[in-house]
């Protein structure tokens, strides 16, 4: 078996950041997606949206520059760029639900080959899962990219033929960035766009719970 190095969380975020074109308005979920903010090339203007009422978030502040009144959806202190704007929750979700956000990057428990996303409840019996803005974002943003480890800590696949966890939204995921590969969700299912060097297609397939397709040229 050949040698390969799975991407670190930071490297996964950087890989995603690489693909975001200038000018897109992006909402970043909690976890690895949040790291994307710090990986964007300095000369590329990408506008970051936070569902608690900020458009145009900048990087995390230096400790001496913290304004405790400016936080993101993950409740971390953030900064405002020149060109930022502030608004209330109904206006903020009107942006999301009205289709004005170009891209939302989310974490996931599971993604199915038809694009179903499960990222809010860990079991069907959980009566008090925390949904937050995930369902609104999953349905409202123009594109959904998922960034996640390829498998759970126990090695169970997170890319599956059918989600076993309760859905956040059906058929919404466009692309998945894992620590092993970049995978498009297409009409024929999972299509592998990129694999980390040294990992074979077959070895990737072995860690995936649905059929992988090779990209047609």
């Amino acid at each position: 078996m050949s040698e390969f190095t799975p991407l670190s969380r930071r490297a996964m975020a950087a890989r995603v950041a690489h693909d975001i074109p200038e000018g897109w308005v992006c909402n970043l979920g909690i976890g690895i997606p949040t790291l994307v903010a710090d990986c964007l090339p300095i000369d590329r203007e990408v506008i970051l949206h936070s569902e608690n009422g900020i458009l145009g978030m900048g990087p995390s502040p230096a400790p001496e520059d913290i304004d405790p009144w400016v936080i993101n959806a993950g409740k971390q202190n953030v900064t405002l760029l020149d060109g930022a704007s502030l608004f209330h929750h109904a206006d903020s979700f009107a942006m999301i639900r009205g289709g004005h956000i170009d891209l939302c990057i989310l974490g996931a428990f599971e993604v199915a080959e038809n694009g179903d996303l499960a990222n809010w409840a860990t079991s069907a019996e959980d009566a008090a899962p925390a949904v937050g803005g995930a369902m609104d974002l999953a349905v409202g943003a123009k594109r959904i990219w998922v960034v996640t480890e390829h498998t759970t800590k126990d090695g169970a696949p997170k890319l599956v033929s059918h989600c076993s966890y309760p859905l956040t939204a059906p058929g919404v995921v466009d692309r998945i960035y894992t620590n092993l590969a970049v995978i498009d969700v297409t009409s024929r299912g999972f299509e592998v766009a990129e694999i980390v060097p040294g990992l074979s297609f077959e070895a990737l397939q072995a860690q995936t719970g649905a059929v992988l397709h090779r990209k047609e040229n």
Binding site: H49, L55, A90, A94, R97, G98, G99
Partner: protein
């Protein structure tokens, strides 16, 4: 660098297709994007559906566009007003479709389109001519009408200060239909009274965040005197 500024009115209006639904902002003369309407007459698109509060007056602006035979239908709350002669003549002659919408319902339908809400219920119009052909429904013992969202292909908006990201503020009563129409169209074209640097409009004072804006047209007057 994101830069939504275009050279002039003609570039701002490029690509508007025949048959488009075009929203026109303003209330009275405040915030009415006259230069963009004049530009639209130049631009040449036909069979337009216009969404605006009024149906124009005199022989300028919207009235001139209608007089040039370019409007198939108008959706508005107050078609007949002082000097709305062009509208009245065309309407009487059967050359113009009209959809009358109560002003608040018009505003809410536009806002709904921008917010991804395909339909909502309102008490406005219940028991009147406006309700004819519309679904009614009771909630908590009171009757409401169902109204649909009103999206557009293009919104023509006038704002006061605008930056290269498209962030806008408005002067005086100029927000009116402008600030909501900006959210409801596939392409939002803003006539900027003043183009300002990014950051000059403070984050708490931005009324229309730039993500709603497609093109920023520097103000110029092209109205024949």
């Amino acid at each position: 660098m994101i830069d939504k500024r275009v050279r002039d009115i003609a570039e701002g209006l490029e690509g508007i297709q025949d048959g488009s639904t075009v929203m026109v902002g303003g209330f009275g003369s405040v915030g009415q994007p006259d230069s963009l309407i004049e530009g639209l007459i130049e631009q040449g698109a036909r069979e337009l559906v216009i969404v605006a509060n009024n149906a124009g007056s005199g022989h300028v602006g919207l009235a001139k566009l209608m007089e040039a035979g370019r409007v198939r239908k108008i959706i508005c709350s107050f078609p007949r007003s002082a000097g709305s002669v062009v509208f009245e003549d065309l309407f009487k002659a059967g050359k113009l479709e009209l959809e009358i919408v109560p002003q608040g319902t018009l505003a809410e339908r536009i806002r709904a389109a921008g917010a991804g809400i395909p339909a909502f219920y309102t008490a406005t119009g219940v028991g009147t001519k406006i309700a004819e052909g519309k679904e009614t429904r009771e909630f908590d013992g009171k009757t409401y009408l169902m109204e649909r969202w009103l999206p557009a292909d293009v919104a023509l908006v006038e704002a006061w200060r605008v930056d290269r990201w498209g962030n806008c503020d408005y002067r005086g009563s100029g927000r009116n239909f402008n600030a909501i129409m900006a959210t409801a169209a596939k392409t939002t074209i803003v006539l900027a009274r003043k183009i300002v640097e990014l950051g000059e409009i403070l984050p708490e004072n931005v009324v229309t965040p730039g993500l709603f804006v497609s093109r920023v047209v520097p103000f110029q007057s092209n109205i024949p005197v």
